[in-house]
Structures are given as C-alpha cells and as structure tokens.
Symmetry: D4
Subunit: 249 residues, 8 copies
Amino acid sequence: MDPELLHQLLGNVAAGRTSVEDAAKRLQHLSFEDIDYAHIDHHRSLRKGFPEVIFGQGKTADQITGIMQRMMSQENTVLVTRIDRQQADQVVSILSDVIYHPDARMLVWERKKMPIRGKGTIVVLSAGTSDIPIAREACLTATVMGNQVESIFDVGVAGIHRLFDHKDLIDRASVLVVVAGMEGALPSVVAGMVSRPVIAVPTSVGYGVSLGGLTALFAMLNSCSSNVAVVNIDNGFGAGYMAAIINRI
Amino acid sequence: MDPELLHQLLGNVAAGRTSVEDAAKRLQHLSFEDIDYAHIDHHRSLRKGFPEVIFGQGKTADQITGIMQRMMSQENTVLVTRIDRQQADQVVSILSDVIYHPDARMLVWERKKMPIRGKGTIVVLSAGTSDIPIAREACLTATVMGNQVESIFDVGVAGIHRLFDHKDLIDRASVLVVVAGMEGALPSVVAGMVSRPVIAVPTSVGYGVSLGGLTALFAMLNSCSSNVAVVNIDNGFGAGYMAAIINRI
Amino acid sequence: MDPELLHQLLGNVAAGRTSVEDAAKRLQHLSFEDIDYAHIDHHRSLRKGFPEVIFGQGKTADQITGIMQRMMSQENTVLVTRIDRQQADQVVSILSDVIYHPDARMLVWERKKMPIRGKGTIVVLSAGTSDIPIAREACLTATVMGNQVESIFDVGVAGIHRLFDHKDLIDRASVLVVVAGMEGALPSVVAGMVSRPVIAVPTSVGYGVSLGGLTALFAMLNSCSSNVAVVNIDNGFGAGYMAAIINRI
Amino acid sequence: MDPELLHQLLGNVAAGRTSVEDAAKRLQHLSFEDIDYAHIDHHRSLRKGFPEVIFGQGKTADQITGIMQRMMSQENTVLVTRIDRQQADQVVSILSDVIYHPDARMLVWERKKMPIRGKGTIVVLSAGTSDIPIAREACLTATVMGNQVESIFDVGVAGIHRLFDHKDLIDRASVLVVVAGMEGALPSVVAGMVSRPVIAVPTSVGYGVSLGGLTALFAMLNSCSSNVAVVNIDNGFGAGYMAAIINRI
Amino acid sequence: MDPELLHQLLGNVAAGRTSVEDAAKRLQHLSFEDIDYAHIDHHRSLRKGFPEVIFGQGKTADQITGIMQRMMSQENTVLVTRIDRQQADQVVSILSDVIYHPDARMLVWERKKMPIRGKGTIVVLSAGTSDIPIAREACLTATVMGNQVESIFDVGVAGIHRLFDHKDLIDRASVLVVVAGMEGALPSVVAGMVSRPVIAVPTSVGYGVSLGGLTALFAMLNSCSSNVAVVNIDNGFGAGYMAAIINRI
Amino acid sequence: MDPELLHQLLGNVAAGRTSVEDAAKRLQHLSFEDIDYAHIDHHRSLRKGFPEVIFGQGKTADQITGIMQRMMSQENTVLVTRIDRQQADQVVSILSDVIYHPDARMLVWERKKMPIRGKGTIVVLSAGTSDIPIAREACLTATVMGNQVESIFDVGVAGIHRLFDHKDLIDRASVLVVVAGMEGALPSVVAGMVSRPVIAVPTSVGYGVSLGGLTALFAMLNSCSSNVAVVNIDNGFGAGYMAAIINRI
Amino acid sequence: MDPELLHQLLGNVAAGRTSVEDAAKRLQHLSFEDIDYAHIDHHRSLRKGFPEVIFGQGKTADQITGIMQRMMSQENTVLVTRIDRQQADQVVSILSDVIYHPDARMLVWERKKMPIRGKGTIVVLSAGTSDIPIAREACLTATVMGNQVESIFDVGVAGIHRLFDHKDLIDRASVLVVVAGMEGALPSVVAGMVSRPVIAVPTSVGYGVSLGGLTALFAMLNSCSSNVAVVNIDNGFGAGYMAAIINRI
Amino acid sequence: MDPELLHQLLGNVAAGRTSVEDAAKRLQHLSFEDIDYAHIDHHRSLRKGFPEVIFGQGKTADQITGIMQRMMSQENTVLVTRIDRQQADQVVSILSDVIYHPDARMLVWERKKMPIRGKGTIVVLSAGTSDIPIAREACLTATVMGNQVESIFDVGVAGIHRLFDHKDLIDRASVLVVVAGMEGALPSVVAGMVSRPVIAVPTSVGYGVSLGGLTALFAMLNSCSSNVAVVNIDNGFGAGYMAAIINRI
C-alpha cells in the first residue's frame, strides 16, 4: 500500500473521518491479497518504496486487468512491463485511465504524477537503433519513479566521436544506464569517462555469435571499468528501477 | 593524480613555493605515463575520483612494484587486487609501507586514511563460509574508499532464520553487497526485504553444475527482485567499488 | 494390467465363471501389445504399480486414441500428458468418458476413482503466476494416483512473507513439490524449513539468461539444502509421480 | 540441537537436576552460534531431524575442527563430507573419537549409534568401478542416518545380465540410489524394473563428451522412467540423505 | 555415373552400336556438371559406389527437380532426403515415376530395383514412437541400397523386457542401427548384447535438457559398449547409408 | 560525406559558384546527423573511405527510407543489408532508383558506378547450394565497393576434384572469400592451396550439431592454415567489405 | 571366456581328461565374477567375440592387476587402455608377460597371437603429429584383434598433396580410421575419396576454440560425406575396435 | 623449399656447377619429406611464399629439433611457436644459431634477414599488460616475414584518451593487429577510427565470464565495425602472419 495513502487513511481514522470498521476492511489485505492466480504483495510499497510491478509476458489480459484493479485501490502508481499492443488494448478498453506506451511496451497508471525524488539526472544511452525499445523501457520506468531522465540514442563505438559530442550531458549525469547489443562495448567506454555508477543492459540485438545477448552480457560483466554493474538481457525495466533507487540514496 | 595533491602543487606554484619547471616536470605524465609494459593512467583519479587499481593476477612482482612506485608519487591511495602471498611478500620487501591483507588477497598503500565520504553504511553479506574471501575483498575496497562497512557472513538460505536475525542491520544499510555461490539465491531474498540497491556477487564456490559460478551468476541476473545488479564471478573488488560510488551520490 | 483386474480374472477362472480359453485370450498381451507404432507395456502396472503414461507431445490424436483404447481394456486409470486442447477434443469426441484438464494439459480416464493410498498430504508450491500450469500437472498426477494434495501458488522469494504465511500447511506436508522458473530459489528456501523430501521442478519461465529453464535447473541441483532432488524442466508430471510413490513407502 | 538431548536437558531442569542459569547458558545458541567464519545452525536438528552437515571442500582443517567441536556439544552425530586424508588426519589428531572413511572421503562422529529408523532397505547401485567412491558416500550417509543399506557395484548396462542377477535384492529395496557416469543409462534401466523411488547420481567419471558429468546428469533428467529424481554431479551425500528421509515417510 | 550404365555405354562403343561422338557427349559431364546453383558430382557413383544424394532441406522444388533430371540420365537410383510433402508433390507432378515416402520424408527414383548386395540383415531399432520417422529414413535408405532390412520400434529401456523379446532377430543382425532420443540409452544396451557393429542415431525428441538431441548424442558417444559409432542428430539417412556399406565389406 | 562530393563543394565555394552560407548549411551535419531514431555518421566516408552501411534487420521500412534519403544527399553509394523482399518493395516504391537484389537480400543505390579500385580479382567460393545467398552478399558488396569479383559455388570437400578443377582461377585471386556451413572445412583446404589471404564465412546451414553455424565458425578459427581470418556467422557483407579494403592496400 | 578355451575344456570333459568337478569349478564364473571392486564379465567373449577391455584411467595398479589375473585364466587376450607408464610398470613388475606400449598408452597380454580374421586392410590416418598417440591406440587395438593394419600420419588438409600421395593405399583399405584435432576436416576429405566406411576420431589437440576436441567432434558429425560415423574424443581404442568388427562382417 | 634457394640450385645445374645427380638428390623431398612422426611440407614455401611453421605445443624437443634440421637445409627462415623456455633451451643447445624469444615464446632461425617486403607499417595494439605476450608473438611473426612493425601496448578502452594519444601512428598503419582479452572491445573502437583492415586477436586473459577468451572472441566477431576479421584465441602468430600477407597484396 502506498505510504502516503496509508498515512491519509490512518489520519482519517484519528480524526474520526473514517470508522475503525471501514479502515480495518481496507487494511485487511495489507500483507498480501490472494486472488486465485496471484498473491498480490500489497505490503511491497511500504517495504520497498515502490509497489510490485506486473510482468506482462505469459499473463492473459484478464489476469493483468484483475491484478491492476486490486492494486489501483491501494497504490499511487501501477506499472505493467512486456505487454504487446493487442493485450494492452484489451486492458485499456476496461481500465480507461491507463496509458499504453508502445515504444517501451509498458502500461502505466498514475493516480497523480510522482514528484521528482531523484537527486540528479539519470542519463540513458543506447548503442544502436534496434536497442531503442529497451532504452525507452528504462527511461519510462525511471521517469515514473520520479526522476529527471535524458536519453542519447545510437552512439555505438564504431563512430566514437558521436559519443564524445554528448560529453557535457554525460558528465552531468548522477547515474547512467547504458544499453547495447552485439559486442556490448559501449558501457566500458562510457564508464571509463565518468565517476558515476553505470547500469549496463545487454540486448538480444544481433545475429550469429551475439547468442541472443549472451555475448553482450558477458562482455559487460568483464568490463575493464569498475563502475559497472549489469542486469539481465533486455531488462530495461530493471535498469531504470535500479538507477532510480540509486539516485535516491 | 589525486585531486588534493594537484591542488597543493598548483597552490605551491601560485605562492612561488614551487618553480614552474619543477611543477611542469611533475605534471608531464598527468595524462598517462608509459613504462614499457604499462600505460599508467594518472589522469584517472581526476576523471573518476579514484586512481587506477592494479589487477595483480598475471603480472610479475616486479611489474606490480614498478607500477605502484610510479602511482605512489601521484596518488593518496594505491590498491592491488588478486595477489597471492608469495608475490605480495616480494612487493612488501621493497615497498615497506604497503600492507598485505591475505584474507582479501589485496595490497593497500595509503598516504593517509581517506575520510568517510559515503552517506550511509554499506552492508556486505555472504552465503557460505567459502564465500568469505570474496566478501572480504568487497569490504576492504569499500572501506579504503572512505565508507562505513559492516559484514554478515554465512547466512545462506538453507537456514533463513539466521538472516532474519540481522534484520535491523540490513534495514539500516544504504547499499548492500550480497556474495553467494552454488544456487546464488541469497541476493533475491535480501533484495526482497529492502528498498536499497543490492550489488550481487556470484562466486565460483561449489561443484558439479555450479559451473564455476555461472549458475549463481545466471540466477542473480534472473532475480525476481528488481533492486539487484550483478558483477562478474568472484569480483568482490568491483562490488565494493560500485557500492562505494553509489554511496556517494 | 491392473493388479485388481488380474485378480478378478483369475478368480473368475478359478470359480468357473470364465473359461480358460477366454482368460488366455485376454492375457495374451500381458507382457506387451504391438500395435504398429507402439509396443504397449501392459505389464507395467503389475511391475510398477501404475500403468504406462502416454506422452502426448509428438503423437497424433489417432495414435493417442488407439493406445488409450487398448489400455482401457486392461487398466483402471489411463493418463495422457502434454496434450493441447485441439488434439484432446479429437480424442474426447471418440472416447467420451475421458476428461480433459486444460490447465494441466492432461487427459484422464478412470474406471473408478483410485482410493487414497498416500500416507500424508502432498503439498505443491509454485513461485510465480506463469509456473501454475506445471504445478497443476503435478497436482493432478498425484491426485489421480490416490493422494491428498494441496497447493500454494505465487509465493516467490521476492516477498518471502507470503511463503511464511503458509507455514502450517508446509509443516504438515509429507512430501513437497516446489515449482519455480527464473532463479529457481524457492526449493532451497522451502527445503530449509522442513525435514521432508522436496521434489524440485524447474520451469522454462523467464527470459534472457533463464536459458529456457537451465538456470533454474542448475540452481536447484546446487541447492544448499540436502533434502532436494530434481526432475527435468517443466516436468510437472514426473514430480507428481515421484511424490506419489514416495508418499506410499 | 539434537531433540533427545534437548528433552534430557529440559527434564533435568524440571527435576531440579540442572539450574535454570546453566540450562539457559547451554541453550543460548539454540538458534545459531556465530563463530566468526560460520553461523552454525544448531536449530537444524530440531527443525529438520538431522544436524547441519559440514561441507569440507574449501574449508581449512582448523575451521572444520572448530565447527565440529561446537556441534559435538549439542548433537548426537556430526558429519563432514568431501574431506581428503591430509585434512582429515589433522582433525582426527585433535578430535580423537572422529573416524575417517577414506573410501567415502567423509569424517563421522557419533555420540552413540543412531537406531534403525528407516522402514525398508536402501539399495545403492553403481555402474562402474570408478563410480564406487560416490556410491560409498551415499551408503555411509544413509547408514549413519539410521538405515539398513546394501550395495551392488559395477553393474553397468554394457553387460546387463550382471544387473539381472541381483533382481531379488533390487525388488526388495524400499528406496534405490543409482550412481553412474559416462552415458548415465543405469538409473533408467533400474527404474524400469521397480515401483520404488530411484535417486539418480551422475558422476564426473569419463572423458571427452562426458563433459565432467553433465552428459550423465542430462541423460538421467531425461529418463523415460517416471520414478527417477536427480541430484548434483558427484553428490553421493545428497542422494544418501534424500534416500534416508524418504525411507522414513 | 552408374558403373553398370558406364559399362553398357563403353560396350556399345566397342561394338559400334554407339558412335564415338555420341558417347563423348554423354560422358562430357563425367567429372561433374555445373548447373548454376549446383556442381553435380556425376563421378561419385564410380568413386563411391552410390550416387550423390540430394539434401532437400533449404532447396526449392525447382532446384530439386533440376538436379534430379540431370542425375536420372546418368544413374540407376536417385534419392532426396528431408523433403516435406508440399515440395515433394511439386516434384512428383513433374517427374511422375518418382515416389514420395512421407513417413521417411524421402523421394526415391529407381530405374530398376537394386539387387540385394548386403551380406546379412540390417536391423533398425527405435526407442520411442516419436523416433519412428528417423528410423524409417534409415530403413528406406538401406533398402534402396540393396539390403535386407528389418525393424523393431518402441523398445525403450524403461520396459526392457520388450527388447529381450526380440533377442533372436537382434542376434541374427549383421549390422544394427539404433535410434533414440531423450537419454539415448538404447544403443548401449543393444550393443552390450551383440558382437556386431551398432550405428547409433540420436534424435531431437524430448524436452527440457534433451537439448534438441545433444544429450542423446553425448550419451551415445560415451557408451560403455565399444561396438558403437554415432552419426549426427536425426541423421537416419546417414546411419542407413553407413550400415549399407558396412554390410558389403 | 563522400570525399569526391566534398571536394566538389569546396571547389565551388573557392570558385564562387556556391555561397559560403549554402556550403555551411550543407556541411552542418558533416560530423553526424541526429534524426530521432538514428545518429547518421556522415563523417564515416571521409574517415573510412566508404559510407555507413544500413543493417536492415530489425528496422522498419520507414526508418530505412528515412536514413537512405539523408545519406543519398551526401554520398555516392548507399547499401542496405539483410532486408527481405516485402520491406524492400516498400522502400523502392518511394526511392525508385534503388535496386533490390533478392539473392543477396540487399538494397543498392549508386549515384554513379564506383570505378575499379581493387588491385586484383576477389574470388568468392561456397561449399554448398544452401550457402549461396551468403556468398552472393559478399560478391555484391565487393563489387559495389569497386572490385573485380568472380565466384565458384558448390565445391564442398566431399568431392574435392570439383574444387581442383577451378585451380587456375583460385591461383589468380588476390583475396579469397570462402563460405561454408556444416563442418566448415573448405576454407582450410583452399587456404592450403594459396599464398593469399582468405576471409572465411561460416553459415548457419546444417542441422543437429551444426549448432546454427557455431561448428563451422569454430572449425574455421581452428584452421591449420595460417592465412585465414574469420567473420561472424552468415556475415557475407562483412567478408566482402574486408576483402575489398584488403584488395586496396 | 574365450570360445576356443571353452571348447577345449568341454572336449576334455567329454574325453574324460578333465573331471566334471574341475570343469564345474572352472566354469562357475562363466557369467561374471564379483571381486569386490568389479563384476568381471567373463561371458563377454562368448557373447561379443572379444573379452572385456579394462579402462585404466581412474583405477589403481592393484585393481588393474587383480582384474587382469582373473581374466588371464579365462581368455586368450587381455587389453588395458589409458594407462600411464608409472602404473604400467607396477603391473608389469607383477605380471611379467604383459607388454606396455607407451606410444599407445596400452597394456597387452596375449596367450598366443590372434590369427588374422579381418577381410582387408584397415588404414589409420592422422592429421597432425600431436594426434599420433590416439592413432597408435587405434592401430594397436585393431592389430591385436587380428587385422592387417597400415598407418599414414601427419597428412592434414593444409597441404593436401601429402594425402593424395597415399591414394593407392587409401583406395585399397577395407575400413578407414581417421584421427584429427583442431578443425577436424580430414575425415570429410578422405571419406569423399573412397566407398568404404570411415570411423572418425576427434582429438583434444588444439587450443582456444578447439574446445578440448568438441569442435573436431561436431565438424565430423556434420560431415558432408555420408560414409562417416564418429566415436568419442580421443577414443582411439573404440575406433580400432569398431574397425575390427566391421572388417569381419 | 625457399624459391630463392631453388633458383640458385637450378642456376647451378644450368651452369654445370652442380651435377644432375646431386640436384636430383637435393630435390627428392621437394613435395614433402616423411620422417616417421611428421610429413614435412617442403613444397609450402613455393606454394605459399613462406615455409611451414612448427607448432611447438605437444611436440618433444627432439621432434622439434628433427623437423628444424630438415627444414634448415631447404629454407631461409624457420619458426617455432608456443615453445616454453625449457624445451627451447634443449633445441638451442643443439642448433646454436637458433634464437629464442621468451616474451613471444618463439624460436627463430634465419639464414639471412628477410628484406622488407610489406608496403606499409603494421601496427600491433594491445589492451592490457597481460595481453602483451600474444601481441609480441604477432609483432615478431610479422617482422620475420619482412615487415615494418610498430606496437602500442596497454591502451584499453577504460581510459580511451591513452588510445587517442597515438592517433597519428594508428592513422599511418597499412594493417592493424588488435589484441584484447576480457570484454574484447578495443578492436571495434580502433576499427571505427581507420579505413584499413584490422585483424583482431582475442586472448584468454580474464576470469569468471571471460570464459577463457570466448567472450572476447564473440565480442570481436560481433563488432559493429565492418573492417574486422578474427583469429583464434591467443593466436598472435596467425594474426601476424595474416597481417604480413595482406601487407603484400
């Protein structure tokens, strides 16, 4: 349950604006709610500062809608990742204030915009045109979590002057997310230029021995720069999330 | 070159205490110094806030000593990682104010202690007794970089009550480093308890399908908790470094 | 041939209710029956206590129907696994007393319900919503084999309090089946809580370095808990079968 | 803490034979004891029916001795696995009532023999001469845990009549452990002969595409017999442990 | 060019029944014929005793037809492997005396039946129902190459008595082809029963860690029986071919 | 920007035929041009002698058209690789002077034919009929880059006399590109015959343990001939490009 | 038991030269003999035409000596493979008529030379100097089993004229064994030249992506020649054995 | 045989300075010489412009000495690669005019210095200190083959300014060899700066997921720069050889 909503509720009880019975009913699922196909972890936003995020892949539109509805009663923000347009349209036809971002394959519902909570600017870079959807997933996640986000796309190492042209913005970043497929070299180069933490995201872009992103992943884990940590292949959401909580230390 | 030393030097020139010629000579390698077998990156501490760290494995004691000597003239701190006792003893016999930490397999030289620069406490957890050396590498790195560090060892998931017994310390952490081999499950469980960033370190501890740490690595990258990013197998140094720069955002 | 049916037949011969010729004809395939595309092992239920189970994947609906018909004349129970709705519908249109369970992708025919033969309760747990079909396959298999089965779904380690909430049921189990994809950490945590055998089932749920379930499989085989043994990826049937025969020791 | 010892202690307190202070002191580490390099889980024998087992590989003889000493004050049985003769000799020179079993690479300390608790006979089979040490580890573990154990060695499938010669013993088994390297075919053949659970142990015996045991492991997981579950490569201990707890259902 | 046809042609020239010019024209492509997308190796039947076989997969129906037409003018037999029904129908609609065998996915054209040239009977065994198409490919290939072939299907090791029931035929074989997926154990067991060469064919049948046939392949290469050699996954044709030329030594 | 076009432009400015303002406007994107989804590297043809090549796979027809249009204003040649007919038709319907080569899956636009710049003949060989598309990609790339190119298809090592028949042409080559799938043996054999550099291209042709081209790749990297270097699986373009720049040394 | 020895024994019984009691005692282990660490399969030479062969690796010199002694009482030939000089010397010091062949790492004991039983000449080829030990293992095995064997070493494909120089011998072979490491191309080239069966042996010779012989193995399994079957990496013994039994069809 | 030596010999015959018999004897091994453990390919220097190079690993010092002696009678240059000091010392003690280069692990014998035959300068770059031995192997090979060679060591991408500092030399290169381990990013960055061919050499330097050089290899094969081709892991010799023959086009 969102901490702000919880405080409101308890404030209302203290002020006599809400009866104890009503509040108790509202809070009965504070730990988690069991809805047959899911144990929704309503306690997560209290414990972790951000509610559970719904992983759309492998769930039906009905399941997603059902989980969202229960979360919307208790949270300020609800996110769904990895959801394609067809499923998203089904959800939006029922929950009309949910917005689908096709370039990031995400659904977003916000009771109200989250205020900026991050300390500096998160900069998201990507190596190639085909890496952009994953980069957009990272941008959108960090933005929704209350951060100033800027992006630089298509600055792969084969024409490294394109990267240096953005040196000012890169130097200003408090946290960087670097997205790359194929040989996955961009995070090492970027991390060598800055003193800030870099979250590297390998993508499955490529063919032959790109091995579905394993080559980029392994290259990033072997980075000769020390200020790099890595998330799963194509996990733009995880990188944006990690950048957001780092930006709040 | 250490920023503080650079400022001192330029201050001395401004005040006439150091001649331009002497200062120029001292600064001639500011970008990097080429010593046959290495291009020492003296610019790194200006650019990245911490000097280059020497990767000991695969270098001779002579090479390590040579690089250290050149760095000690320009930096406040010099670290060597992955160096065994035999090589370390050779280095220490020449550079007597260098200290060897056998439990972390590291050499440390400090002109003076770095003041505490991190905002909160970094907590390092490890799953098994055999993971301790990697955990110690992380602890020592973060400490030398100016952080308050606490550690909790041998709290693997097979007896999960041992972990919960340390819940207060875990909740207090600003950044967590979690070290585990075998099935690599500890980072997921710890990350599910906190809102802070977790740097996960897989180790090569185990046998059979531990696959030299690959299983733990892949498990950590697949963590169902979003506040986890991962470094290379057995890379305790990298995790400690990453935690230190995150702790300074 | 089902042992009970065999006893009935021989009893009838002894009592003169069935002629020797008729009995001989009925028993001629006792070892196995060759029907062009299959050697049906009718001896299995005598030898192993449960008849051969038909692996549906890669067989035509006609082949499945043919094998089922021959088995139904000799057994009390016939199971088909990994059969999708389209094929199942074809089979059911011919063999009308067969029931299709779409959530477990199984066909079940029972001459009569098998009586409860297991000693305690088998508890099936699954980590995520997408693991449920495999978990259902395990539940249905163990139930048909004459066991009391209970299930707990969506209790992944990222919100471990959801698991502890079911501690009573977990403690009561005589055998546990634990189903998980991604990092496959749940069996280790569950096994650490109980003294009973845990059959772990990795699933192919996940992306990137989940490697189609290999990561979960390897993690489970590396479990730091000793009371864990593992079956093939997505093999819910095998886990249910194994749990059932353990429950009968 | 061993349940029997715990009952004795509490009985003594009730009878006034032990003061509350003494008992409290003895029980202060009931949950776990922290000895710098290990969190010893003294609670495990209460929770799981058997105390923590010490994984010797990667620990020093001093560490092993230290952990054993603390456990011996609280348990009836202490086991160490994967310990070579040199380390074992160091431990035995200090803890003289500990016995080293070189063929199983295990150390065993028993306050008194555990009574037979298993319901039937556990039968351990191995395919080749080189698989025997792993098979012995399984035998010894199950024996120490209070079971009747019999073994059949060197009955690989290339001369399958050797296996059938032991059919009586195999049919009598309540649980079977089958150990094999190379192509790992023995568990499938044995499991096809019986109705009881088979715990399969792949070994790293072989060369070329035995791949250090991975081929045997994968073959066993793909077994066309359903009554097979698998443990990690060379994990004779785990198989013996699993067989012991199954034998007690 | 088929040796028999070549002899006929040269005989006709010697007897004056064919002019030198006509013979020369017919023989001009004796080495190979270049038809834009293929170098047809007409010399192969002289050199190797059997003409080139067309690998259908990845070729268009037009390409296959074109190659067949040129070969039919010079050979007694033309085979195409791995061709699905749709492509085959297109070829047959043009070359009407070609026969499609859908159960082996092969096209066969024979000017006249090849006489029996093999010394004994080739026996083809397969482990499961799903392995049958690959087994049929082996049977058909060996038959077309002039051998007596017998087959035994669905005799996997989980019910090993089914195999022993065919012991007479197995003992009579001069060469054996054994086809199996999943754990690939059947070739080891069969080879342990006989003194004759066994050609093992792994199939891609299975799921999870069958790894598309790699597990069966590796298991067969690790066979503890010495009279086993292996061909590529699903390569029924190669096994039949190899058995045929061995049978002719 | 094409060096020739740049010289023309600057010549026009010098001669007063173009105003400084117009030239400046034309040159403003000389470094790169940012068009939302791509940073087009217009500087590449100055720096590398050939403009950026568009990797078609994973880009929409609209994106490809947009990038081509911007490049066509500044370059003499624009190439797109890995584009299927459907997407190509969309591009050609807008940019009518672009030519689609379906056998190489490439789009080519040339302001004027590039003059022959290579010193000798580049010879492209391929092992099997199915390798031809990749070989054609290499041929077309090297031709467009201004080279004399000849090709020899379907000369795999199973009928090695077909290869020797082309010995004259092979001996005349200044650079060779050798394309092969399956066991990838052709480059070793060809390289053993000549003193010139061989660029080897593994293809994904094959089945079973061809492993999508990995086997051919690894075989080529292990070539016992020293004059072989290798590019990614199916990367006919890269091989043609590399051959072209070598041919110009 | 060797068939000839068995006939002698029974002949002696028939002729009254041996008592029934003595014969019975001698035959009591006809099926197999259990000597604690091994089930010696004395029945094998009757069943398979050649006695069990002892795999030396992983056995102690004592175990090897013990098994040999029991076999020498019942067989005409006893072989040990993969035994290094140190162990061999220990065996020979006890069993003085055993001969060690260091170049093949084998021990051979022969009561009398086996007469030539193979129909033609077995030719063993190897690609490089480092492959010779494996080739020698194949030669020695086939020789001991009663075959005419010839060898051609160091004829790798990088200088293919060396191979063609031996064309006469190659054409004369009835069975060929081809041994190669690195890219493993030699079997394909040789098999393309002949109509006889080729047994290919990959070796672990090489570095980098030779992957311990996996690359050669996979290349051989992908051979574009159909008359190739493959044995495990470095398995010279198996190839010689297979060639010997093929040569006897 | 070296072409120059061959011309001298034939000139002497023509001039009557050498008898036909003597010349014939000298030329009898022109094709190859068979010395038991090797077929020395004396024809190679005529065919390929450079004699066979001896791969030292896995050969005895005696074998190396034997091969060298035979080659020294026919060639101007003899190279041995991958030979450690101990073996090298044995060779040099017999062949005193052979020189060992320990930093490149190579033996070199030159009748006389080869004149410079390459057109431009070959530049060899390496990423880290530990990559230097492989880089030195490339330098020495190219030098011996008659090229101007320059080297730049320790310019990894984590401090990319070190690389740009050498831009002039890089721009002047006619061919580049780039050596890197870990993430293998350097070749992409260098290739993006130049229009010349880059031969990339992955090294086995690193730990964890460097996977013995596979990660660097795969990254280089996936390079987003087109002017890169790759050789085997640690194959400095092959890269130097390839660069030398390219430099001579």
